[in-house]
Amino acid sequence: MPEQQLPEEHLRQVRELGKADIVVGIPSYNNVRTIGHVVRAAQAGLAKYFPQFTSLIVNSDGGSQDGTREAVLSSKVEDAHLLMLDTPKFPVHRLSLPYHGIPGKGSAFRLIFRLAEMVGAKAAAVVDSDLRSITPEWIDLLLRPVVYADYDFVAPYYHRHKYDGTITNSIVYPMTRSLYGYRVRQPIGGDFGMSRRLIARYLQRDDWETDVARYGIDIWMTTIALAEGYRVCQSFLGAKLHDAKDPGADLSAMLHQVVGSVFTLMQEYEAVWKTRSGSEPVDLFGFRFDVGLDPIDVNLGRMLQAFAKGCKDLAEIWSLALAPDVLDAVLRLGRQAAAGESGFHLPDELWARIICDFAIAHRDKPPERGHLLRSLTPLYLCRVASFVIETQNLFSAQVEEKIENLCLCFEALKPYLAGRWGAYPGPKRQPEVQTAPAGAEPSKVEVPKS
């Protein structure tokens, strides 16, 4: 990565630091409430588990006004003796820098990756700044597979409330799993570990100025790692407790960025996903245990109302994407939601068809992409409402079974997706796929049963 792309001030600070073996990146925007805890956990984790390495904590900030950057630089591990930390051979350095460009998590990660490359880091981890449940062990679990076991990408594996992460559970996990054939349970978890070669690959890419600059970054990183054959594993991190994701950001924008990234990457990796069927487990490290989780209140009535309104207003736009039989079924559900009838239920097969049809329309109608992705919001709320009704009396293991069934539906529908995708008239774009460097094998080890 050319050094001159970074501001002189950043370069000066990095040059002063010299080299670092490990980098932990923390993107932030007005997270003064929680970032101190995250920095302390990262610092303790590096000192405790990687004392023999030089390390650097980088805060990539999006222009916080609440003293986030000061909190990063001033926080320190005060009770080192309670953590039973050895005196590290090398100090843990800290940097807090503002990133430039499109405001968003992806742009923050870009700066972190550039700095990691500049200091010659052999491994890097990124963790969210709004985490309340992070412990020093997270740093170990995210970095150890890279540092000691030659993995390229470590995805998180958490216990989450059944209503937490509904975009993950309803769309991103089933889609990623059915497309690329690997069961990475939290593909957009936000906390990842990466090898030097994977970071180099990320920086090589030229799509940073897209939705990748925002919420699309997580699925982008995971998909590249899976589709290009890098060694991928998961680490069990316990519970994920965090502040709500940017409450100011609206749901349709979030869906647009995340789902849009999934669909865009589908086009690029068409040659990869079309050849894969079914799915296989991915290595899972870490000792698994049950944890208590924050309750999540959902407003079911409001979701159904939003869906009914969508059926009334957006049928014209949905008809651009959905097959006629799917649209009919959706509109029937809309009438049911509007009438407040009991037994509201969106079948898994129908939901999977909806997503597949939208993926195809996203490929076929570039000028309508924005409208299509944003029009997905009421349908997504329909899915969430149906899921909430279905699982309100279920325990997390039973809920996980439901999600597994949904994934199997997506996998079963893959021939339909591939068939409709292939039936498109006209020349196809050549995929720009770069395979992983020699010696990097995709992981195929059995996952421990939960």
Partner: protein, 236 residues
Amino acid sequence: MIAMLQQVLERAYEHLLFTLTTYLPPLLTAATILVITYLIALLARWVLVRIFKGISVDRFLYQSGISSMFDRSGRLRATHIVSNGVYWIIIGIGALTALSAFNTELTSRMVETAVFLFPKLVTAGLIVLAGVWLAQYLGRGVLVWGCNEGVPSVRTIAALVRAVVVFVAVVVAADHLNFARSVFLAAFVLLVGGAVLAASIAVGFGARGAVARHLEGKRESQPPEAEHERSLWNHL
């Protein structure tokens, strides 16, 4: 009496002869021209259908949403548009050539006007087409945004946006044709109005984040209900 009758008949015969000798040749010429151009048009359409089959214009129309503007199923093919367009252009040229065969002042003026207007007609058609496309695009944008934000009567608002944009396009096209020049001022006012509307929508979209962040400050100090709403949005 007989001589008078003969005179009348002779005059009628002369008139008929004059009419036939004056108008029949150009009429026959015009008919021949029309038949030939019809055959050429048919041939051109046949050739174009074969040439354009599989060309990426179909893909462009499908992806740009232009095809769904005219055909809900979005399956309208460029091949048909282009071949039929060329067919009708040739028929039009044939008709004008046939008219000019009469070589009268009226037909000359008609041909002249048609030739003079043709490029303008094409431009005006393109203006209207672009307007319809833009109207549909903006209308859909408003529809999706309004629906997600829970705006009431959003379909009416979207239809209004569409109507305004199409109306502006029609006024611009009419002005380009020098048709109803007097409405130019009105068109200008409408254009400015449309621009203000578009700017308002753009600012609305662009400033949503800022407004939300501004409101966020207020929400933080609000009671548990707001906190409950927040927890709904742990989607990622």
